[in-house]
Amino acid sequence: MSLADYRYRDLIHRCFRCGYCKFPTSYLDVNNCPAYARYRLESYSTGGRLWLIRAWLNDEMEWTDHLAEIVFSCATCKNCTEQCPLPFSQDIVNMIVAARCEMVERGLMPAAVQQFLENVQRHGNPYGAPRSKRAEWFQGTDVEQYDGQEYLYYVGCVGSYDTRARETARTLAHVLKRGGVSFGVLGDRESCDGNDVAKLGEEGLFESLAEENIEQFKELGVTKVVTLSPHAYNAMRNDYPSLNGTFEVFHYTQLLNELIKKGTLDLSRGFDARVTYHDPCFLGRWNGEYEAPRAALRAVPGIELVEMERSRADTLCCGGGGGNFYTDFLGGSEDSPARIRIRQARDSGAQVVAVACPNCMTMLEDAAKAERLDESLSIRDVSEIVASALE
């Protein structure tokens, strides 16, 4: 492998490191790239990373553990894509992912990335937990296995295994039931959607996961999928069609918003709080959905919706994207993006941070504890807020 064989060989040299990739739109600060915010080194910004990748592919520098850590610390949040002024802006995250593909193919990656991918290969989830435990989240509830219902409710790895995210998965199921939605789940037949596997550069494994999911969905006659996680939503909406898997895919906030608009959910109990909404990257920047979750929150009586200084396309990522919720290259510091984000939420004057992604939930909840803000600032999923308002 050399630069000549690299998928973006005609593009990567065109980044001249103007540095816009790490700013928010206002250019008032320089820390809207989560990895750059954490390390404050040019090499951790997208431009710096692209230069390092080019040097590595050109044999101008050796592969080292540190180089790999820099390449895998990108949360694939697409802030850089929003800010890059050059015509190839849509490809800059892909250039990093393509470099990861090269490292993965050669077995050159940080141990945490290897563990993530080996766990998904063996167990269908990054935690290495047995498949049989994938169905535990809905034990004792009236959630049904998928059997031809209108929607497949795809929960994903974090919602199925993480203790806190399981609560969200159950709450959303409850809200969907109350909204009269006909849905079923796959339980222990569900497998990883592969979004973060793809972003970590394991293309072959992603295709295998996607093809198995598509085959299963088709066998079961699934036409509509509603996902708990924006990560699954992204993979199924944008990547599955090219693998012959075209389904109507919804993020749950879109479905909730429709139910609220139709008046199917009676929210008259309300939710009295000042709430700020944190945009998940794979719903916002990756898929342009900024409005549905906000509309759902605005429809809840009693909510005063306030915006953080950075929101929508300007959102600071929680640092959990691209597998980082597991590999944790951005944790362990007061400059960890999740902690900066929690301080931004505090500064908005909100009492509640509304999230719409189980990864953001776990990242921000941990950050609130680390910042000792967990008593004044609670992290609630949009579905949990809606559930609290149900009469």
């Binding site: 077995g107 167990h123 290495g128 047995p130 295998s208």
Partner: protein, 260 residues
């Protein structure tokens, strides 16, 4: 330099301790819902063998004794870079170590071998006997629990881990057999596309008959009576209160129990 690495397939129970049950026959765990994979120690042995083959040339062969569904661990070895894979088609689950050692020793005897590597033990039964037994049967010098090695002409210098973190350093003449401890390298990641390509490679299958062995050679001297699970502990304790109170309570508890 020709390397042979003996490998085994085991059930992965690392994150499943709370769902493990003994099966109806009482001599194995119930494998339903659990996945199987390459024995952890064997991954390190393979990686080490491949590194020396890559450095010094020759061949690296992965060898196992098992039924057909063990081919996948041999394919993992091929995907990692092994030149050949051989499976002795025999379900060794009910055999004792000496019988398996007899089969492996016979198979290794027919393969070119300067360096024979085993994982120090298996994750399932963990007897750690197989490597030394095979060495004895083949008349090879051996070292167990190897945490570092350096091949130099017709010798291998090894570092062994012993109690208290101490090391023993030995020099063995080749051919030699080593059992490999975890941690001496980092087994390479095997990408899905490599595994796919390895599916097209051939696995050499041989039988006891072809190896010149009969059941008379494999009379067990040790038989497993039954398995029992360790009773669940009843001493878990949850400490409540704010961080300061909880830390204080924990410190008191650790002092009282003599830990600190």
């Amino acid at each position: 330099m020709n390397v042979v690495v003996a490998i085994k397939k085991v059930v992965d129970t690392s994150e499943a301790a709370d769902v493990v049950e003994v099966d109806a026959a009482g001599k194995d765990i119930s494998k339903a819902g659990l996945v199987s994979r390459l024995n952890d120690w064997d991954g390190y042995a393979l990686e080490e063998g491949l590194r020396w083959r890559e450095k010094l040339g020759g061949t690296a062969t992965a060898l196992t004794v098992g039924p057909r569904d063990w081919d996948d661990v041999l394919r993992t070895a091929l995907a990692m870079g092994a030149d050949a894979a051989v499976r002795v088609d025999e379900d060794a689950a009910s055999m004792d170590c000496r019988s398996v050692a007899r089969i492996l020793a016979t198979a290794i005897g027919k393969l070119p071998h300067d360096l024979v590597l085993f994982g120090a033990q298996s994750e399932d039964f963990g007897s750690a006997q197989l490597g030394p037994m095979v060495a004895q049967m083949l008349g090879l010098p051996h070292a167990t629990l190897v945490v570092g090695l350096d091949v130099n002409d017709d010798r291998v210098h090894v570092s062994r881990e012993i109690e208290g973190g101490a090391r023993e350093l030995y020099t063995l003449t080749l051919p030699a057999l080593l059992t490999i401890q975890t941690g001496l390298n980092r087994p390479r990641y095997v990408s899905f596309s490599r595994i796919k390509r390895a599916r097209e490679k051939e696995i050499g299958v041989t039988t006891l008959h072809e190896l010149g062995l009969s059941s008379a050679d494999l009379v067990p001297s040790v038989t497993l009576e039954r398995l029992e699970l360790t009773p669940a502990g009843r001493r878990a304790m949850l400490i409540s209160g704010n961080p300061e109170e909880a830390a204080g309570a924990l410190a008191t508890l650790l002092k009282e129990s003599g830990v600190i």
